[in-house]
């Protein structure tokens, strides 16, 4: 597993993912999205995300604060790894019926990407991202099952108020 190079100035956004809202449609129960997203799980070669009824996957990732996305690393096996990926920013509750809406970005994953080379996103489209939906349309081999090893998102946070830090002003 090659180590991923974090682009300068960016941080790994895994810390800003709102885990209670993460959803994935068409995943197999025993290989859920956490295997690909969560710290620790995603680096474990034995754990991966697998699709169920067919090869498409729809992943919804909300963030705890507004972020800017710079690049992403998506890795998977050669044959069953994803190929066509579409990203939608700030679209809530997408279903497979509206995946044909114009995406914020779409790209094809190459074999290099599957090994860990980051995909640079259209930065201008991801300046103000509250939630990200990843639609995986097909896989490299064209089979019925798509497998993902890891999804990492890199970017920066926009300075927003963290409600937990708000404290009552004491009387001076």
């Amino acid at each position: 597993m090659s180590s991923s190079v974090i682009p300068r100035g960016q941080v790994d956004l895994v810390d800003f993912v709102d885990w209670s809202g993460v959803e994935c449609l068409n995943q197999i129960g025993k290989n859920p999205i956490a295997n690909a997203l969560k710290q620790g799980y995603r680096d474990d070669d034995g754990l991966h995300l697998e699709s169920d009824a067919d090869e498409q996957l729809l992943i919804y990732i909300p963030f705890t604060q507004v972020v800017k996305l710079h690049s992403a690393v998506i890795t998977g096996p050669e044959e069953e790894g994803p190929r066509t990926v579409k990203l939608f920013a700030n679209k809530e509750h997408m279903g497979f019926s509206n995946v044909n809406d114009p995406p914020s970005d779409s790209f094809n994953i190459s074999a290099d990407n599957l090994k860990g080379k980051p995909v640079t996103l259209k930065y201008v489209k991801f300046q103000n991202v509250r939630s990200l939906t990843i639609f995986i349309e097909d896989n490299q081999g064209g089979g019925d099952v798509t497998k993902l090893q890891k999804i990492s998102l890199y970017g920066t946070t926009v300075d927003t108020t963290n409600m937990k830090d708000l404290k009552k002003i004491e009387d001076h």
Binding site: L25, N26, G29, D52, A53, D54, Q56, E92, H93, G95, F96, S97
Partner: protein, 488 residues
């Protein structure tokens, strides 16, 4: 004289990932505050575990003084679409009275079960035959709408299963609360003209969109065109971790709804489960053998509750009459007894977490009890003041004037129904003090402190630094036995 049993609540709370778990926690605490038991045990457990605990406890406790209430927090909210078959095949009377009516009963039951298990659940209705697939009610938690629609449904046409399922899926997609899980319940009564492959394709599409399905296979049961096979294939295609089921219902004497009650459609997917199993178990544990008064509390909760409340009231009235006849012994004890008999009435409800109606009835009952208590107390006070009394009454008034703590305790139990949580916690603290308890017992009229059995009781009390709830339980039981002996 009726012994006043000490009530001991066992609250088994099963939290889940449901966002309204705090609501249930609050309702439990509120209920406990209103009718405080002597003690309660809070078990945070999985549903499976709590059910087995309930079963064990109910079998261990023959005297019925253990009231067990199981409050399960709900499962994840669900949005359900029920697809009714109203084709010409439904005129058949093999399910009484007609297949369509049998379906209507089943629909009523399902709606009730769903909304009971979680107030956020919604149910919708759709007719598959007739002029075409029609959505009668979009998912709502208003049962009245659904029942009204069932009422006006006409028979005709042929059932279109694939279109029905697809329209149901669409209706669920546009549900208001996106956090609800999607579920379709199909009543497949007529033969199916689609082929297996089509059904499997639809099933896979449902699975992809995380929709679960339950199919009730009834009516035309011949396997010539493989109806059961096709439906089984559909369910297998949709099923993800066994969340979808097929229920074959053979023609027979029992109604469609009765057969359905024992199926996974009602008992849930094994997550939180519906409240039915819980309330049935609680009813059994509470000393009532499942269906009291011949009315299933699950089917008709209001009626069952009304019957139960009126039984309690009748019992309380008879009690009060008996007490007025045997005034001497009754007076001092009445305070504690009225309190616990009102507890009795309130706690004998099965684990119904719902309605304001129940709360109202409960409060009315406590008011009745409190009124009776006031009456009796007033009588005794008056009698004391007039001084033209017999000795027993004088004892009572003396006791009252001489023992301000006793008067205070009686006063507090009087105010019970109005000033609930605060006074109750005072009372329980007061009851913990062994010397106080001992003094109450000795000052009760009709109690002879020199009686050997009572002496033992007091001796055991002295030994304790704090009257634990077990001891209080024992205390109450033995006191009642003793006083019973005295009356008889």
């Amino acid at each position: 004289m009726r012994p006043s049993p000490a009530y001991f609540w066992l609250v088994v709370y099963s939290p889940s990932n449901s966002p309204d778990s705090p609501i249930f926690a609050n309702s439990i605490l509120r209920r406990l505050a209103q009718t405080p038991p002597i003690a309660f045990v809070l078990l945070v457990a999985s549903p499976w575990f709590s059910r087995s605990v309930l079963f064990i406890l109910s079998s261990l406790d023959p005297s019925g003084s253990l009231r067990v209430c199981m409050v399960m927090s709900s499962s994840v909210p669900q949005a359900t679409m029920i697809c009714i078959d109203n084709s010409e095949w439904m005129r058949n009377g093999d399910y009484a009275p007609r297949r369509l009516q049998a379906q209507a009963d089943a629909v009523n039951l399902i709606c009730g079960a769903k909304t009971q298990s979680n107030p956020e659940n919604t149910v919708g209705l759709l007719a598959m035959a007739g002029k075409g697939v029609r959505v009668l009610v979009t998912p709502t938690s208003d049962l009245g709408k659904i029942l009204a629609c069932m009422h006006g449904l006409k028979i005709g046409g042929e059932m279109d299963l694939t279109a029905g399922v697809q329209v149901a899926h669409l209706a669920l997609k546009h549900r208001q609360n996106k956090k609800q899980q999607q579920r379709i319940i199909v009543f497949a009564g007529s033969p199916i003209k689609h082929d297996k492959k089509t059904l499997e394709a639809i099933g896979r599409k449902l699975k992809k969109n995380s929709v679960a399905i339950d199919v009730v296979d009834f009516g035309e049961l011949d396997d010539d065109d493989g109806k059961h096979e096709k439906l089984a294939a559909l369910v297998a295609a949709v099923s993800n971790n066994d969340n979808s089921h097929i229920v074959p219902v053979p023609t027979g004497s029992s109604a469609l709804s009765d057969v359905l009650i024992s199926t996974p459609i009602f008992t849930g997917d094994g997550e939180g489960g519906s409240g039915f199993a819980a309330s049935a178990a609680a009813a059994a544990a509470g000393g009532m053998s499942g269906f009291d008064f011949g009315v299933d509390p699950n089917i008709d909760p209001e009626l069952a509750l009304a019957l139960r409340i009126s039984m309690e009231e009748e019992r309380a009235r008879q009690e009060a009459a008996a007490k007025k006849a045997a005034e001497d012994d009754a007076k001092g004890e009445k305070g504690a007894e009225q309190a616990s008999s009102s507890n009795d009435a309130t706690m004998s409800e099965a684990g119904n977490t719902s309605a304001v109606a129940i709360d109202d009835k409960r409060r009315n009952l406590s008011d009745d009890e409190a009124a009776l208590l006031e009456e009796a107390l007033a009588m005794s006070m008056d009698v004391g003041k007039n001084k033209s009394v017999d000795i027993a009454d004088t004892d009572m008034s003396d006791a009252t004037t001489e023992d301000p703590e006793l008067a205070h305790a009686l006063q507090m139990s009087l105010q019970e129904s109005t000033k609930e949580p605060v006074s109750q916690s005072d009372m329980s603290k007061v009851l913990e003090d062994p010397s106080f308890v001992a003094s109450i017992i000795t000052s009760l009229p009709g109690v002879d402190p020199n009686d050997p059995s009572l002496k033992d009781l007091l001796a055991s009390l002295e030994g304790q630094s704090e009257v634990s709830f077990f001891l209080r339980l024992e205390l109450c039981k033995s006191l009642n036995r003793y006083l019973q002996k005295k009356v008889v």
